[in-house]
């Protein structure tokens, strides 16, 4: 989805300033990593020539030099990234919706991630950043980048080996839902295991998948499996119109989304390959599409509220 967005003159000035800083950082990074690589290469050559002591001295000298250069710019990088996020991203998001606040150090708490019941696995490693919150007409919302992983261990000849697997790498979006409900309804992408469970529940035994909700929408049933603590409440939330909207939203997303309706809110998980709201170091800031993807993702999140019709407040809530 392309959002109609124009960078304001004030933000353009900040970008111009940051571009100077970026060039310095890029040059320093290049020098630092260059020195380290050169040191390693020189050490290898001298070592091959049969001079291990000299190889060690030459290699160490270059590597230390490289590390000093990189260390000296670390504060500049932090400041550059901070300014980019606050003064460029934050200010630009505000031009699309004035209520928006952007906090790059904050995110969706792990307890909230687990409590949303979007995923059955608990994360072993969890990282979140870039919290964006605001209000669109009557609906308050917030979303943040989340990287949740679980680990598995295998026994090898050299001992135990840990493998990390993604539960979610993407965005968790949450908004105040426009209807009252007490239970939990979860809509998850259909995988092989859940398809088999749903088929058994539908056609043979009904034990096991007691919480399975069989809905009438064909697209919905083909792509999702729905569970809920209350059959009627799940249908009260997932009206035919709501199922169509979720299907539409899913079609617009690169990967299959997951949704949960809990504690009077809707949670949506979007798996994404791209890391948003980051300051580029080796790419110029002076390009017209600099903020395109970041603004598009916000536009998409605001679209959810419209698509799910969350601003319609005709119920008792």
């Amino acid at each position: 989805m392309d959002t109609d967005f124009k960078v304001s003159p004030a933000i353009e000035n900040v970008i111009a300033e940051l571009e100077i800083q970026r060039k310095k950082i890029a040059a320093s990074k290049f020098q630092g990593w260059g020195a380290i690589l050169l040191g390693a290469f020189a050490a290898f050559l001298v070592f091959s020539a049969g001079q291990p002591v000299i190889a060690l001295i030459v290699g160490a000298a270059f590597i230390v030099l490289g590390m000093v250069i990189l260390y000296r710019i670390s504060d500049d990088i932090a400041q550059y990234k901070y300014r980019f996020k606050q003064e460029v991203i934050g200010a630009s998001l505000n031009t699309l919706n004035q209520s928006i606040t952007f906090n790059h150090n904050d995110g969706i708490a792990e307890s909230e991630f687990v409590g949303s019941q979007l995923f059955t696995r608990r994360p072993d490693r969890y990282h979140t950043e870039d919290l964006i919150s605001g209000k669109d007409e009557k609906t308050t919302f917030y979303f943040a980048e989340v990287h949740a992983e679980y680990k598995t261990e295998t026994q090898t000849k050299n001992g135990r080996q840990v493998h990390w697997h993604d539960i979610l790498k993407g965005i968790i979006f949450t908004a105040d839902f426009n209807k009252n409900f007490n239970g939990v309804t979860v809509v998850r992408p259909k995988d092989f295991g859940s398809s088999i469970g749903a088929w058994f529940s539908k056609n043979l035994f009904s034990f096991g998948d007691k919480d399975l909700i069989q809905l009438e929408n064909e697209y919905f049933n083909k792509n999702f499996v729905t569970y809920g603590t209350d059959q009627i409440e799940a249908r009260y939330i997932l009206t035919p119109a709501m199922m169509d909207s979720i299907s539409e939203l899913n079609e617009r997303s690169a990967y299959c989304v997951s949704l949960s309706f809990i504690n009077s809110s809707v949670y949506i998980a979007f798996p994404l390959a791209h890391n948003y709201f980051e300051a580029p170091v080796f790419k110029t800031l002076l390009r017209p599409d600099l903020l395109k993807e970041d603004m598009n993702i916000l536009g998409f999140m605001l679209l959810i509220i419209r698509e799910l019709d969350l601003n319609t407040r005709i119920w008792t809530k």
Binding site: K179, N180, K202, N203, L204, F205, S206, F207, Q214, L215, E216, Q231, I232, E233, A234, R235, Y236, T239, P240, A241, T312, R313, I314, W315, T316
Partner: protein, 185 residues
Amino acid sequence: MIIVAIIAIAVLIFGIGIYNSLIGKKNQVANAFSAIDVMLKKRFDLLPNLVETVKQYMQYEGDTLTKITELRGKAMGNSVSEGEKLALDTQIGTAVKGLMVSVENYPDLKANQNFLNLQSTWTESEEQIAAARRNYNSSVTSYNNAVMMFPGNMFAGMLGYQTMPVLETAEVERANISAKNLFNN
């Protein structure tokens, strides 16, 4: 011999599973219907309050209000069957919908907080009943599948279970709820 015993036990367990599942599905249908009944009662309970509130403002809608009161009286009667109750609810729904459209002509009523609350509750009850009916239809479909498909049909025949009709979807349930159409304010 052991293999035959294992197969016999497996068949027995499978048979018990199918049998229990069939009974469970039939009970689920009865349960789903009683849920509709509860929702209907909640909705009918709203009506006296609604009629009382709008009566003070709507001087020219006396006939509609009387009709709504009469329909409610019939629906709440003891002798009315479940099917008739659902049909009466559809008639009440249509009458109230007409009433809500007439609200446009009464600006004072449109601004009345009590009426606005009742209107929201009414809309909510409408969606809850729609959800309960969909749940009932889903339970019936699941039950009918079990009764008609192999191997459930063997047990269904023995138990005398027959397929059940699903409820027809009322027009109001098919249409998307629209704030604009409902409120126009």
